[in-house]
Amino acid sequence: MFHPIAWSLWVVAAAMPAMLTQNPLYLSIICLAAGIVYATVRHTTPLAASWNSFLKLGLTLLAFTVPINALSVHAGRLVLFSLPPSWPLIGGPITVEAIIFGVSKALSLFTLLLIFAVFNCAVDQSRLLRWTPAFLFEAGLITSIALTFVPQMLRNAQEIREAQIIRGHRFRGLRDLLPLFVPLLTGGLERAVQLAESMEARGFGGSLESLSHGREIAVKVATAAGLLGLLGGFFSATYFPDRRALSWLLLLPSIGALLFVFRVQSKRVHRSRYHHDTWQRRDTVLAAVSAGLALTLLLVRAGARSLLTYYPYPPFSPWPSFNLWLGSAFTLLLVPALLSSFHPPRQPLNSLVAGEP
C-alpha cells in the first residue's frame, strides 16, 4: 500500500484534530473518513481482524462514558427529566447538554482509536521498526523481539494458571503468586538464552567497526556537549522566553553536534538492511496532503482558535458550530482511500514468485 512514513504522517494529520477539538460534527467526519480508509485497505492486510477489537473497545467506551456523564453532571438548561435529589451523586436534573458533552468526549476517544486501528491494519510494527536509524538498530531489534515475546508470555501465563488451578492452587495472598510467577520467569529466561544462542549462530553481533582514537573522543565530547546544550536551550526557552536568540544559539549547535554523532555512529554499523518499501508517487501525494492538513490545523489553532473550541454548557450554546471550510478540510483524510481506488494495489510479490494464481 503506502510507505510507513507516509502512513505515519496521515496518522499525525488525523489524530491532531481528534485531540484539538471536541466538536462532534468534525469528529464524526474524521470517524467516517477513518472507516472508509479502513474499508479500502483491509483487503491488503492479514491484520484486519484487529479492527473489530478496536471497534468493540471504542463502543464499550461510548456505552460507559455517555451514561456516566449524563447521570453525574447536572449542569445545563435543556432539562429532560429530574431524578430525586436525595439520590447520592446521580440525583438532580438530567440535561441534554450533559448527554451531548458525554457523546463528544467519547467520540474524540473513539476517533483516536479508529485512527490507530487503521494504522495498525495498514502498517505492522516490524515495517515501522525498520526505519529506526542504523546505529539504533539494536534498540529496534529489542523492541521487535519484545513484541514477539509478549504474546508468547501471555499464552504461557494462561498455561501456568491452568496448571496450578488443577493442582488445587488458590489465590489467598502474595505468597501464592510464587507458583504462577516462578515458572513464567524461568520460562522467559530459558527462552531468552535460547534466542541469544540462535542469534549468535546466525552471526549477530560483532558487526560494529571500531573507531580511531581521535574519532572516539570527538564522538564522546560531541554527545556530552550536544545533550548539555539541548538541555540548556530548553531551559532558557522555558524560563527566559523573551531571550529567543540565546535559546537558538544553544539549541542549533547542539542539534548539529548530535547529528554528527548519529552520522558517525551509523557509519560504524556494518549491517545492511532488507527494505522492500519503496517510495512511490502516491506516497508523496499522501505525505503532502497530510502535512498540509496538519499545518493548516496548527495555523487555525494559532489564529482562529474559536473555530475549534466546543463547550456545550452555559453560557455557550449546546449546539456545535460548523465551519464549512474546516469541515471539508477534514475530508482530505480520505486521500489514502481515493488513491488506492485510482491505482489498484500492486500484485503481491509472492504470487509472482510461487507461480500461483
Partner: protein
Amino acid sequence: MIEYKNVHYRYPGNEAPVLRDLSLTIPEGDFVLVIGPSGAGKSTFLRCLNGLVPHFYGGTFSGQVRVLGRDPLHEGPRGMAPHVGFVFQNPEDQFVVETVEDELAFALENYNLPQATMRKRIEEVLDQLNIAHLRQRRISTLSGGEQQRVAIAAVLTLQPQVLVLDEPTSQLDPQAAEEVLDTLLKLNHDLGLSIILSEHRLERVVQYADHVLYLPGDGQPPLFGSPAEVMARVPFTPPLVTLGKALGWEPLPLTIKEARRFAKRVPSSGVRVQPDTRNPKLETSIEVQDLWFSYNGHDALRGVNLTIRAGEFVAVMGRNGSGKTTLLKHIVGLLKPRQGRVAVIGHDTRHASVTEIITHVGYVPQNPNALLFADTIREELDFTRRNHHLPPTDYTPLLHLLGLERHAERYPRDLSVGEKQRAALASILVADPQVILLDEPTRGLDYQQKEALTAFLQKQKRAGRTVVMATHDVELVASCADRVIILGEGQVVVDGPVRQVMTDSQVFASQVNKLFRDARFLTVEDVLRQL
C-alpha cells in the same frame, strides 16, 4: 569433511566431562543421525560444530574440531555461521522478528550483504523449502512444522554447506515432524548439503541416514557406523528393530518393507479380534453427553458422547486441533460445556468447582514447565498435598515408582525432559486421584524415558485407576491402552478396543501391528509371548 580429534569438553561448574576423547570423521554430504539418552552430550557434540561450545557456554575444551578445514574454536559462531547452519529444538524460541521474510533476512543483514544478493537468496530459499506462500505471514500464526521450516530457511540464506539440527522435531506432532524430516531429506539429496541431526524418532529417519553416531553417556565410548551396525548394538531401538534383534533377523531390518520377508516366517493363527474385554457391570467413571464447545466461534467439540468405566485405560487420538486437549480440560472442569453435560464420578462439571473435581481427577498438562516452580521435587509434592488439605506423607514409594528417588531434593527445572515429565506426574499423583488424565505424556522423551513411563502407566492400570490420555504416540497406546477413541473435527470418529482399532487403521497402528496386520500383535512382547 568434519573431523573431531580427541575432543574433551566440560561445562563450567561441572566435574564430569560431557565429551570424553571423542574422535571421528564425517564425509562430506553425509546424513548423520546422532542418538543417545538425554544428557549424553548430543547437543554438546552438535554445538562444537559452529563454536557455540565453548564460545557461548564457556567451560574447558581440549582437542580439535575441523569443519570444512575451518576451526570453530578459533572462528567462533559468527565466523562459522556462513558455513554451518544451526537449527534448535523449539521453533518458537529462535525467532528474532515478526514476519517470515524479515526472519530470513536477519542473518544476511548481519553480514552486511548488499540488497540485491539478499533478495536473490531469499527468493531461492523460499522456493527450496516450499514456503514462498508464507513469506508475509507472521511467524506466530504458523503451525509448528511451518515454523521449523522457516527456522531452517533462516539459516540456509547464508548458504552453509553443513546443516546442524538439535532435536528439531521433538516439540512437534507426527505430521509436522514428517514435514520437517522430508525437507531435510530433500536438502540432503538435491543440494548435497551435509546434515547432522539429533533425533529420537528413529523409526522415521534411521533408514535414510548414512551414518549413526550413538553417544551412550556415563563415560561409555561412542559408537559410529552404518545404521544397521549401530542399531544392532544399542539398547533402546524402535519396536521393529527390537523385534528383529530378539528373533535374530539378519540383516537387521530398519523398515516395515525390509521386515516383511522375515514376518512371513512367524506362524499366524486363525484368531483375529479379541472379544471386548470391557465389563459393563463396572461403575461409570466419566460420562460425556452431547458435548459442544467452541473457541472464538470455531467449534472445537461437536456433540461428543462417551462413557468411560472405572479401571479403563483410554487413549484419545487424532490430528492436532481435533479436540483432544479440549476434551480433557472438560473432564477436569477447566472448561465448561457450551451445550451438553460432563460428569466425573457423579459430579456434574457445570455445577462442581475445579477444586472439588481435582480431589478425584488428576490432570497432567502437556508442558511440565508450566507446573514446576518449587526448589525441590519434595516441595512440589508438599505443595500439592497442602492444596488438597492432605498431610505430608512418605513420598519414597511414589518417587521410586517413577524412578525419581535420587532426585527428591533436586531443582525440578534442572532435570531432563523425561524426568521433568515424571516430576510433573508425581506432583499430580501425590494427591492420589482415582482418574488420571494425561496430555501428550511422551512429547520430547527418548526411548529409554518412554519405556520408563510406559512401565509406570501399566502399573497404574493394574492398580485399577481410570486413565484417559491424549497422545499421538501409537507405540505408547499399543503397550498401555485397552480402548482407543479417535477424534476428528471435534467428533468421535472411532471408538473401540485397541487391538481392533489398530488392526483396522493404516495410520493409528503400531510398527509391529503394521508388520503383521494381526490383532494379536501390537507390541514386541505380544509376538515374543506367542512364539
